[in-house]
């Protein structure tokens, strides 16, 4: 870089001297000597800055590469020398190199700034060996080793906390700024930053398998999966250069023959064409913009696995959601305890908990969770399950029955207050007398409603909910969320069929996204135009199955991802159209002899630099 800059400066100084000695002619040289001195200075200046270009051009011709930018620049400038446009020749080469310098500076800068967005790679691990701490590279640490993470350090590998407690900054992984607490026996993920306490961690995954490596790998490889627009531009550029060069040849030879005018003027126009024939601005700005988009998404806890997915996301008009675990929390909680007048509410919950305490059915677990106290198993004298109906247990000296309405009917319980509330209802009878019921249901996530609204604002035309739950539950959830269509009582295979049906009935150019939790909906994620998995942090299955992974549990991040994708594509199109308009404009002007080579070289490198700078703007 430095060497390049020095060459440019020296060459520019010699160029200036050459221009100035003609203007001022201080030493009163006679005209011939002046001209020769000038030409010598121009040639020196040209060679200093352009020798590399000429060398590459020659090498490329030997390899049969004719439409290479070095060759084109070489021909354009040597041509300018040949028609005695000396200052032009040097200036074009000089500006070309200045432009290349800026461009590579800007590219380096943007590579760095995007890399710093993803600066989650840990540099070392403090390995505990016989009570001493040794600094090791994370790759050297093995499963079962114990590592120590001090405040301010990055957690280098996934594992379980064995000592200490602390707050963790997970923002690099999730985009979430609220710190998370960890205690002994909690899982801990690499890539988090330890904020206050000292932690000892038993390593559970090697570095290559740890969360941080997986995420980095995904994001770093994302630009290798190219978007359609990018492929189109590369294809376009393969035709663009030969066509412009061909046009240049026509302009140089045909018009002078037809119009019998001076050939030099036409050659000059043709050389101007060659200067504009390089497709760099186009080819460089597209992948850079996509990379910026992917980088800024990952900063917000959204992993995009390829440029192509970002592009498809921007065209998404149908968003299909799985209900449980995506729009709702997927955790079943006791929502209501409806006790009879003569039964105490706490006693009802306590007896129900004891009754169900030998079961690990999700419903039983949520009742136990609501009770929240230690269970004294000695109080359970007897417990038996009535398959598909419930459980009957003897607690202390009471007979407790917990289950659905069928269980109550079998036992001949009277005066049951049946309810049509939405969720799972556990009826409780104590000593054959109805005591009340417990309502257990899933909860809608706090930001689900906002997520649906934001998606509509971001341009999604149709929102759909799929669920295996019954119609009542689905409708109740939708009353709050307001999706356009709800399909309920679906088996996993029905979900694939529904998505297939939606795919068949939509327009080709509008895309369908499926959002799930990535755990048991892999086939649907794969079938949709784009599969989005929620809660990817710590879930390998979700990261594996989806095209886009939302690291947190927030569905509202999908709208964020969509906004980023739209902005990225907008900038991509801006860059493409800007570059094309300027290039075609200069081509037309120079065909009519209205553009100089100066303007052409400015157009060429200027557009490239502007396009590169513009691609930074994605980071919003």
């Amino acid at each position: 870089m430095k060497k390049r800059l020095r060459k440019i400066i020296i060459s520019a100084i010699i160029f200036l001297i050459a221009v100035l000695i003609e203007k001022f002619n201080f030493i009163n040289l006679n005209e011939n000597i002046l001209l020769i001195t000038q030409v010598i200075l121009y040639v020196i200046s040209y060679l200093i800055v352009g020798f590399e270009v000429l060398k590459k051009a020659v090498i490329n011709i030997v390899h049969g590469e004719f439409f290479d930018e070095n060759f084109l620049m070489g021909i354009a400038t040597i041509g300018a020398f040949a028609i005695k446009e000396f200052p032009e020749a040097v200036a074009v080469m000089l500006f070309y190199q200045v432009g290349e310098y800026f461009q590579s500076y800007a590219v380096k800068k943007s590579r760095k700034s995007i890399a710093s967005l993803m600066d989650i790679r840990p540099d070392y691990a403090n390995l505990k060996v016989n009570g001493n701490i040794e600094k090791k590279s994370p790759e050297e640490v093995r499963i079962g080793d114990t590592i120590v993470v001090k405040p301010g350090e990055k957690v280098p590998l996934d594992g379980i906390v064995t000592e200490g407690n602390s707050m963790l900054d997970t923002s690099a992984l999730t985009g979430e700024s609220v710190p998370r607490e960890v205690n002994i026996n909690d899982n801990i993920l690499s890539g988090c930053i330890n904020l206050n306490g000292v932690l000892e961690i038993k390593v559970e995954k090697e570095f290559g398998e740890s969360t941080v490596s997986k995420i980095l790998d995904l994001v770093e490889n994302a630009t290798n999966k190219k978007a359609k627009t990018e492929n189109f531009i590369t294809k376009f550029s393969k035709y663009y250069t030969p066509i412009v060069v061909f046009l240049a040849l026509i302009i140089a030879f045909i018009p002078p023959i037809i119009t019998k005018t001076e050939m030099l003027d036409w050659v000059y126009r043709a050389l101007t064409f060659l200067v504009v024939s390089c497709p760099c601005a186009l080819v460089i700005s597209v992948p850079l913009s996509f990379f910026s988009g992917i980088g800024s998404a990952s900063k917000k806890g959204i992993l995009v696995k390829g440029s192509n997915y970002l592009e498809i996301l921007s065209k998404t008009e149908i968003a299909v959601f799985d209900k449980t675990g995506t729009l709702t929390k997927g955790v079943f909680d006791v929502q209501k305890i409806a006790n009879e007048k003569d039964v105490d509410k706490n006693e009802l919950l306590e007896l129900a908990t004891y009754c169900e305490s030998y079961s690990n059915h999700p419903i039983s677990l949520s009742i136990q969770k609501a009770y929240g106290k230690e269970i004294d198993k000695k109080r359970i004298i007897e417990s038996k399950e009535v398959a598909g109906k419930g459980i009957i247990s003897k607690i202390d000296n009471k007979e407790v029955a917990c289950g659905n309405i069928k269980l109550m009917e079998i036992l001949g319980i009277k005066n049951i207050k049946e309810t049509d509330e939405i969720g799972t209802i556990v009826y409780v009878a104590i000593d054959k007398k109805y005591a009340g019921y417990i309502l257990i249901s899933d909860e809608i996530k706090e930001d689900s409603k906002k997520a649906i609204q934001d998606l509509k604002k971001a341009g999604v035309k149709k929102t759909v909910m799929l669920t295996g739950d019954n119609k009542e539950v689905a409708e109740k959830v939708n009353k709050e969320l307001n999706l356009d269509v709800v399909y309920s009582e679906l088996l996993p295979v029905d979900k694939v069929n529904k998505v297939e049906e939606l795919l068949k009935n939509k327009k080709e150019e509008s895309k369908l996204a499926f959002v799930g939790d990535g755990i048991n909906d892999a086939p649907v994620l794969a079938r949709a135009d784009i599969g989005i998995a929620m809660g990817g942090l710590g879930s390998d299955a979700a990261i594996e199955a989806a095209d886009i992974v939302i690291m947190t549990d927030e569905p509202s991040k999908i709208a964020t991802a969509m906004k980023i994708s739209r902005k990225t594509l907008k900038i991509v199109y801006q860059n493409i159209s800007f570059a094309l308009i300027v290039k075609i404009g200069v081509l037309i002007l120079s065909a009519f002899g209205l553009a100089s080579m100066w303007l052409a070289v400015f157009a060429d490198v200027g557009v490239t630099v502007l396009a590169v700078l513009n691609s930074f703007r994605v980071e919003c």
Binding site: H63, E65, E69, E220, N221, T223, K225, V283, P287
Partner: protein, 73 residues
């Protein structure tokens, strides 16, 4: 098998495209993708031709972008 390479000092986006195209044409290469921004090349190759393919990739890179060095990841 899948191989990852770094193309250090890859300075020109057009060259990235040319390298990608040329590597795709090597016999035994099933897939190749070069990312200009991350300077990364990912290739899918037939296992038994690994050494030969690596040599050819090196040659292509030297030919198209003499200032770029190929490093295995």
């Amino acid at each position: 098998m899948k191989k990852n390479y770094i193309l250090e000092d890859l300075d020109c986006a057009n060259c990235a495209v040319k390298i990608e195209d040329a590597v795709k044409n090597i016999e035994g290469v099933r897939e190749c993708s070069v990312s200009f921004v991350t300077e990364k090349m990912i290739v899918e190759i037939d296992d038994e031709k690994e050494e030969e393919i690596k040599k050819q990739i090196k040659k292509i890179v030297k030919k198209i972008e003499p200032d770029t060095t190929l490093k295995e990841l």
